[in-house]
Symmetry: C2
Subunit: 188 residues, 2 copies
């Protein structure tokens, strides 16, 4: 039997820079860890902020820690359309020229001119996992997922690093398109 | 080259019974045609009503005409979850035991105990189309769609009738999972 990969659905979330965190929550503020995530060192935080677009606000969006060099808002395309923001499909960190929005926290607000993306679907894996699956960093693979509406994602990027844990990440639109999916299998 | 099929995204919409239409809009009310749809005899109406769930309201949802024997609300799973309604994935017309909601129009409101579904993805085609594609009514096929996030839908039901026009229908979650798709191709 083919080895399967845990598929995790990323709900809308935000990575913040320390500078923006302090504007939103106050001078010297530090994130409060609530729950560890599948990727080592990454965690969900207790803090939530509002994401404001020209058409609507998404209230109480989770922040994921730790802080990063740049603020990045990851939305589904359904979310992005609903608030009136054009979010390109990008890999995490590739935010040049991406969507703009306003972030509102309890102590202040920040207008970001870029940083709103729909995360490109991807698989995190270690070099050891990559050997098992016979794939390499940046390779594009097809992944078959089961669910009430099974489908095959035709362009999933593999990202290999010793810092990663094995997991495939998709957004809520992609999860709902399959619905009920738990595991995926790389098909060639 | 393989023959392609136009893929249409069904936004959330409602089919109403004459009885419910008259409660919502007044005695003897008739639907106002706004735009013909790809399926012969089907049309978008000027009338809009609110779909109310336990958690939230979807305001101003389009009605599609003509009236049908039973009222049916077709939502994406993102929509259904947002308003707190459990919508099963069903073919149109198969509403026994499906989701409940309240519908609110300018003249009244209706509580429906069933009728809220997420439409199972499907292809409408004529018997002549079915011959060209080598498929038959109720057959389940895989459909490959191009988009910014290409994918293969693994369980698309074919529906054949001389009354149909050739088109594949998916919901907004499925459309956003592919994003930018226009055409599909049946793959075996």
């Amino acid at each position: 039997m083919a080895k399967t990969i845990l598929v995790e659905t990323s709900a809308r979330h935000i990575h913040v820079s320390q500078e923006h965190l302090e504007i939103l929550f106050g001078k010297g503020y530090e994130l409060t860890k609530k729950k560890d995530l599948s990727q080592p060192g990454q965690y969900a935080c207790a803090e939530r902020i509002d994401v404001v677009g020209p058409k609507k606000t998404l209230p109480g969006v989770s922040i994921l820690g730790p802080v990063r060099p740049s603020t990045q808002v990851e939305l589904s395309l359904t979310d992005a359309r609903s608030i009136g923001v054009a979010a390109p499909i990008r890999e995490s960190g590739d935010i040049a020229g991406s969507g703009a929005c306003k972030l509102v926290g309890p102590c202040g607000e920040v207008e970001i001119s870029e940083g709103v993306i729909a995360a490109k679907r991807h698989i995190h894996m270690t070099p050891e996992d990559a050997e098992v699956f016979g794939v390499s960093d940046k390779e594009i693979v097809k992944v078959k997922v089961d669910g009430l509406r099974p489908l095959i994602f035709d362009d999933v990027v593999v990202r290999v690093s010793p810092k990663f844990g094995l997991a495939m990440h998709i957004d809520t639109d992609e999860a709902n398109a399959a619905f009920g999916l738990k595991n995926g299998e790389i098909v060639k």
